[in-house]
């Protein structure tokens, strides 16, 4: 694949005696929107944490931007955005203060202007000075997305990005992802929401029982949508 930003090679991860990832191979190219589907307990969140360097793999290799993630974690982290179940926000701080703080850590130039622009982007500019503890789940998720892409990352990892979002916010998130990928940002989103997930995908895969059991390019996404349940069933032990 040309211009690969992420590659996982034969990644294994266990917690105690429970093997969660069993030889995952995965790659995402620049500007691609890869949506990884899977049932609960398939290992999706663990895989995303391994790819984000939050959890080391037991074996296998993760390459970010062509280099081993283990060798240059600070460089790689500066080029990654990550949004997990938890939007990583300080409840006692306002929306603007949260973005300015993370902008500071990422060395974002002209932080205040960039933070304000991102708040407009996710439709929270009218709540910029309100504390996050007063926000709904969906608003926190939108602010979490703004935090994740604040530093214009080249790769964005999303864990169940639609959780807590209403229909309008889901559409807005989809539009933002498509727009950013058009500018070269790669997305890897994991979800069990087949319909929403595949709506924005340019490539899709299925993770079941700790392995990638199916991959589809853009032309095969409709087939994946219709066969998803049977793919998962066949892969289950």
């Amino acid at each position: 694949m040309a211009d690969q930003v992420l590659a996982a090679r034969n990644v294994y991860k266990s917690f105690g005696r429970r093997q969660v990832l069993r030889g995952v191979d995965l790659s995402v190219g620049r500007g691609e929107r890869y949506v990884l589907l899977g049932p609960n307990g398939a290992g999706k969140t663990t895989l995303l944490r391994v790819l984000a360097m939050l959890t080391p793999p037991d074996s296998g290799e993760v390459l970010l931007f062509g280099e081993s993630a283990a060798d240059r974690p600070a460089d790689a982290r500066a080029r990654i955005g990550f949004l997990s179940h938890e939007p990583c926000l300080y409840l006692e701080l306002s929306a603007l203060e949260n973005l300015e703080f993370f902008g500071h850590l990422y060395g974002v130039p002209d932080r205040a202007a960039r933070a304000a622009a991102m708040l407009r982007e996710v439709g929270l500019d009218h709540r910029a000075h309100d504390r996050v503890e007063t926000f709904s789940r969906g608003m926190r998720q939108r602010l979490g997305l703004a935090r994740a892409v604040l530093h214009s990352p080249e790769l964005v990892l999303l864990d169940e990005p639609y959780t807590g979002l209403d229909l309008r916010a889901q559409d807005a998130l989809g539009e933002l992802i498509v727009r950013m990928s058009g500018q070269g940002t790669a997305f890897l989103a994991i979800t069990h929401d087949v319909a929403h997930g595949l709506d924005i995908a340019t490539r899709g895969g299925v993770l079941a029982s700790g392995r990638i059991v199916h991959e589809s390019d853009r032309a095969g996404l409709d087939d994946l949508r219709s066969r998803y349940a049977s793919i998962v069933r066949e892969a289950s032990p």
Binding site: C88, L89, E92, F101, H104, L105
Partner: protein, 222 residues
């Protein structure tokens, strides 16, 4: 250094808005001092002699409550991942949080000292020396306390594990030296007269800061 200052400012802002830590410290130190005051009043003891252990036990146990939430809150709110993902060294996170705890604890100690002097009939012939010992002891306390707070935040029952891990380390290092030096200062010794204790406290502070700085990356990776 800019990340350290950003983390310091964030910590102080969160702390001032949360106030749970500050309120818990103030209430606990008041209760500890009142407990000593009323229980010892039965025996009419020599307060000048007992003053140093009373003061440091109060600071020590109240202080644990001001240090503990710093890392635990990050784990509970899910912001720990945000810090670990940021392209800043874990040592910057440690230094920012440690400096914040130092600022907060120093301010709270001033309250403790004022209440202590109001509760107990104690003379402070060398106030400068007392302040110096308090400052040195607090730096060591906060340095190791921040590291152990980070360790305990990864554990189940972190509220219990923090004192279990922290007390043995601090009791035979910072607390003993601080109590010994403070006792001498309260009976008239100058800072020069307690230079051995002051040097020990400074050495503990340097060692604990270095340990925290070097180990925090492994601790935060859990």
């Amino acid at each position: 250094m800019t990340a350290v200052l950003a983390i310091l400012a964030k910590e102080l802002r969160v702390e001032m808005r949360n106030k749970q830590t500050i309120n818990a410290y103030l209430l606990l130190s008041l209760l500890i001092l009142a407990s000593f005051r009323f229980s010892l009043a039965l025996f009419d003891p020599d307060y000048q002699t007992l003053a140093a252990p009373i003061l440091w036990v109060t600071i020590f146990f109240s202080g644990m409550f001001s240090i503990a939430p710093s890392y635990r809150r990050e784990a509970e709110q899910g912001t720990r991942d945000g810090l670990m993902l940021a392209p800043v060294p874990a040592s910057d996170v440690y230094l920012g949080k440690m400096l914040s705890s130092l600022v907060v604890l120093s301010a709270l100690e001033a309250f403790t000292v004022v209440v202590f002097l109001a509760f107990f009939p104690v003379d402070v012939p060398e106030p400068g020396a007392l302040v110096a010992l308090l400052a040195l002891g607090t730096v060591g306390f906060v340095a190791v306390g921040s590291l152990i707070a980070a360790i305990s935040a990864n554990l189940r029952q972190s509220e219990v594990m923090l004192p279990v891990l922290l007390v043995p380390v601090l009791l035979f290092t910072v607390v003993m030296s601080a109590v010994s030096g403070t006792a001498q200062v309260l009976t008239g010794a100058s800072l020069g007269g307690v230079s051995e204790e002051a040097r020990l406290l400074a050495a503990f502070a340097v060692v604990f800061i270095a340990a925290g700085y070097l180990l925090i990356e492994y601790v935060m990776e859990g």
